[in-house]
Symmetry: C2
Subunit: 341 residues, 2 copies
């Protein structure tokens, strides 16, 4: 009897393992791909050959990312809306910026984590790269409200920043608004969060629990992976309201890009990035899963299925890079004063 | 000749060294004290026996300090106005809080660094301890605008926070608003920034440059140290406008506590904490030094003297503790939603 038990449990393990491997193949066939384990492959994936990563650029980019003085008021940084302690978001429906102005289209701040994996940036995909994206909110009146020239002048007025730019780009560096945004982009490219889901796809069938595997299986079978795929588990431009209208379609005036396409959010760290959808009107992950079934796939995902899919999605919560909070160089008498108006 | 030079330079070194030691004694006699070098002495200085520091409390306090969800809007944390990357301040004249409301008394946010060394908290000294202080801005309508009960309920709705409270205070912990503020206080007690000035007072005469020593000497001779003394180089309640009126006295309605006393700011990291004075109307450190000579001491500090004193004051810029940006536990369906109104 003891022996039989051992044999049976051996068979069970083998069968779970086999199921795991089957599911792994199924996921790969559905277009799901892990964050590479190899550091070299990862670097190749996230680095921009036009402005290759160095420690000096990353560290400087981090400072700029956290520096509220880049805003007109001096109190709003990139990290205000893309908070690295809160899944890379602000946790509110529509972003709030300068003078407490809500995003005029009632748009929700997307996460900065893994955003380098997106094929385009912004909900309407209007920026091709993180570097282009970073230029937007700094200047936008309802966000950081700082003209490009102000941002560059502020940075140039701080000798320690100038030195760091020299260290990063050489003695003859010309500090421009574009280079500031590019440097922030370099830092953002490092914000990758590998998860148990990646371990699973990288060949560790036991990295996911039984329910998570069932959730992943449903995620593929229901068709979620037809938009949420590739390494980003999202991040590409897709049509919206394919089968049905979104119940909060009238909140804000966002209708996608000129072709009606919307950037599918990454589902990585989705557990941490409520509220959901472009206008941030849905707070429950399970509800969001059901809504997407109806809106995009024209099918009813029942409560149990949505629960399992949500359980799987929580396995996408990744390990965040360790970030030492930066000490920002002091302003000088030449630094433009904050303006709250 | 060569020998004479050597002898002379030896004498010069000895004389500078001697001057350094004399100045050290003079500084101590003027009531200036260093941050202790001994970790045990430092701990004794900053720890509160009523709620002794532990790693678990410090780490939890740090999370709460950085968590904007403690505010009504969900986007303002302690760190918004007391930014640990910016000398522990916001760098604006009057604090801006919920709904972009300026501090109604036009009060400037004091630094959190070394604030445990203050004999009282707030500009009017109305809080005796950091823990009492922390309760204020969280609830104040123009700051974080969050009723005490809301703050406690938000924290209690997040199981990972509950676990951390259990780890810090034991299984039977009752999470109250007071305990949340107390835990933030524990973290704030660790924010001590030793500087070259402390090295000097701790027996290293060459830790300050010649000009810095001249500045320190003037700082004592002019009488600055009569208010800015002890370990905090400030932080006690003192009369204001002793000799003359402050030129911006009409900006805001702050007139000190009921006895007209004002908390003297710490001068530690003063280089990083412009703008100066209770209503943040002066941006230049040199100008602030001159103003204080006139307002408090009834004497004219000339440009050269003010320059030397400012140079000395920059030697008070201290080494900040290394802070890993915290990963905050995710909200749940029970967590009260942010309210921007």
């Amino acid at each position: 009897m003891k022996k039989l038990n051992i044999v049976l449990s051996g068979l069970l393990v083998a069968s779970v393992g086999f199921a795991g491997e089957n599911l792994m193949m199924k996921a790969k066939n559905a277009g799901l791909k892990p964050i590479p384990q190899s550091k070299l492959k990862l670097l190749k994936l996230v680095d921009d050959p036009a402005n290759p990563m160095t420690d000096a650029k990353i560290e400087l980019g981090k400072k700029l990312y956290f520096d509220p003085r880049l805003s007109k008021s001096g109190i709003i940084s990139c990290n205000t809306c893309h908070n690295l302690g809160l899944g890379g978001v602000d946790g509110i429906s529509a972003a709030i910026g300068h003078k407490w102005t809500a995003n005029p289209h009632h748009l929700n701040s997307p996460t900065v984590y893994n955003s380098v994996l997106n094929s385009a940036q912004f909900w309407d995909g209007r920026a091709a790269h993180l570097e282009d994206q970073a230029q937007g909110p700094m200047q936008a009146a309802p966000e950081m409200a700082s003209p490009a020239k102000s941002v560059a002048n502020k940075v140039k007025s701080i000798p320690k920043y100038v030195n760091e730019f020299k260290k990063a780009y050489g003695e003859n560096v010309k500090i421009t608004f574009k280079l500031i945004a590019d440097t922030i982009g370099v830092f953002e490219r490092t914000l990758i969060t590998p998860s148990r889901y990646d371990d699973f796809l990288n060949g560790h069938p036991n990295a996911l629990t039984k329910t998570e595997k069932e959730g992943l299986n449903l995620f593929i079978d229901k068709g979620c992976a037809s938009c949420h795929n590739n390494i980003g588990v999202g991040g590409t431009m897709q049509p919206f309201e394919v089968a049905n209208k979104y119940k909060f379609e009238n909140v804000g005036d966002f209708k996608g890009n000129k072709n009606g396409m919307v950037k599918t959010p990454t589902l990585r760290n989705i557990e941490e990035t409520a509220p959901y959808f472009h206008n941030g009107m849905v707070w429950s992950l399970k509800e969001a899963v059901k809504d997407m079934g109806s809106i995009q796939l024209g099918l009813k995902i029942n409560d149990e299925e949505a629960g399992k899919i949500a359980t799987f999605l929580k396995a996408l919560t990744g390990k965040k890079p360790n970030i030492t909070y930066p000490q920002l160089p002091a302003s000088t008498s030449k630094t433009q004063k904050p303006d709250m108006n």
